[in-house]
């Protein structure tokens, strides 16, 4: 890939997705965009990128952006956050909500494993949860909605008993069981958009391993959007090692619960002394 093509790709990812594509990922870019070029009928990655440069940003550019996003995801990633949600948070929040309904947003849900895992945890705890999964990548969302996963995917993060309880075999794959299907809906959403997804505020937001790939000022904007989407005292789960930023007054870390941050109540108007 020529340096100018890579710079164009960097700019596309930064302005549209807030994604900071570092120079050491140039090889990865060639590897990921090769299949997109073939699928879209271009002779090479260079030709594909030239087309995205010459045309207004449309579905082709989005295909390029989607291919570059980190799609790696698995069920109950890191386990502990999902245990906290299912055993502690969801039952506690449920007792203080009308109809016991807990509202959860899986932001950057990829192929849906996180959202379905949250549904399993809530259903296992007997909690009525309404879960929204959003992602930038249309192809991933289609997979999430289908709720169909390979044998490899279901074995990354799921116990055998959970597999039997929450999935049914479908041809060579496994499909999310009907009792979970009504709990989750999937929608396309760009975390960079000004307006949060419709439907009001959420009790719990999972946004794991998304922010660390973002450029710092965009990351800050996304955090503000996540804050605005949470109820007061709402819970934000980030990936292990991720944080809302040193000294960010909007969230406080919870000791003994890595990756969990609680939205702090702040006066809406700050007046200088």
């Amino acid at each position: 890939m020529r340096p100018e093509d890579f710079e164009h790709l960097q700019s596309l990812l930064l302005t549209r997705a807030g994604f900071a594509l570092t120079r050491d990922r140039m090889y990865l870019a060639d590897h990921r965009l090769g299949p997109v070029a073939r699928r879209e009928g271009y002779a090479s990655v260079e030709d594909l990128l030239k087309a995205t440069r010459d045309l207004p940003v449309g579905s082709l550019a989005w295909s390029v952006i989607e291919a570059m996003l980190n799609a790696e995801t698995w069920f109950r990633r890191d386990r502990a956050p999902f245990a906290s949600f299912g055993e502690e948070l969801a039952p506690a929040i449920s007792t203080v909500r009308p109809g016991g309904r807990v509202r959860v947003w899986s932001a950057g849900c990829g192929a849906g494993q996180e959202a379905w895992s949250l549904a399993m945890m809530a259903a296992g705890a007997g909690v009525h949860a309404e879960i929204l999964g959003t992602d930038l990548a249309q192809r991933q969302l289609e997979k999430a909605k289908a709720g169909l996963y390979t044998q490899f995917e279901v074995q990354r993060g799921l116990a055998a008993r959970q597999l039997l309880q929450w999935f049914e075999p479908h041809e060579e794959a496994w499909r999310v069981a009907p009792q979970l299907r009504g709990m989750v809906r999937f929608e396309r959403d760009n975390l960079m958009d000004a307006v949060p997804p419709e439907g009001g505020r959420y009790d719990v937001v999972f946004c794991r391993y998304v922010l660390s790939d973002m450029e710092v000022t965009r990351r800050q904007r996304v955090l503000e959007r996540l804050e605005a989407s949470l109820v007061d005292d709402g819970c934000l789960f980030l990936g292990l090692g991720e944080s809302p930023g040193e000294g960010n007054p909007a969230f406080r870390a919870v000791s003994g619960r890595p990756g969990l941050f609680v939205k702090t109540a702040r006066p809406r108007i700050h007046r200088a002394a």
Binding site: W74, R79, Q155, R156, L158, R161, L164, E168, P169
Partner: protein, 138 residues
């Protein structure tokens, strides 16, 4: 204490013995692949080619974990599992089935017979790590 300096025995060594895993599979290749992954988790690995051989191993020393194929000559994995679980101390080892069988009824049968986890072949390092974690051994 008397004037005789006691000899420091091995048991006073603060480094614990590595945990042990017995890999039971009639395929030498599968055993080799699984061994490399499981050794990577810090286990000391032994191998057996069928259930009868595995029972003989367990009569000498019970491993912490057993990775168990289903279909094997001489004695299959399910028979081995039931026999081991019926023995005194046989409920100690964590047993993970690792088999080509993917039917729901088979998985349920294995869990009901006392298996702790169930791996469907083919597997990779991430899957084994995830399943060992489920069984609480990594």
């Amino acid at each position: 204490m008397g004037g005789v300096t006691p000899r420091v025995s091995q048991s006073l060594n603060p480094v614990p013995d590595p945990r042990t895993c017995l890999i039971v599979d009639d395929s030498r290749i599968i055993r080799k692949v699984a061994r490399r992954i499981v050794e990577g988790f810090g286990f000391e690995v032994d191998e057996a080619a069928d259930g009868a051989e595995a029972l003989a191993w367990c009569a000498t020393a019970l491993p912490d974990v057993i990775l168990l194929d289903w279909n094997m000559p001489v004695m299959d994995g399910l028979t081995f599992l039931k026999r081991l679980r019926a023995q005194p101390g046989g409920d100690g080892p964590k047993i993970l089935f690792c088999t080509i069988e993917t039917e729901v009824a088979r998985i349920a049968e294995a869990l009901a017979a006392g298996a702790d986890e169930y791996v469907m072949k083919p597997f990779d390092g991430e899957i084994l790590e995830s399943k060992f974690a489920e069984a609480g051994v990594v």
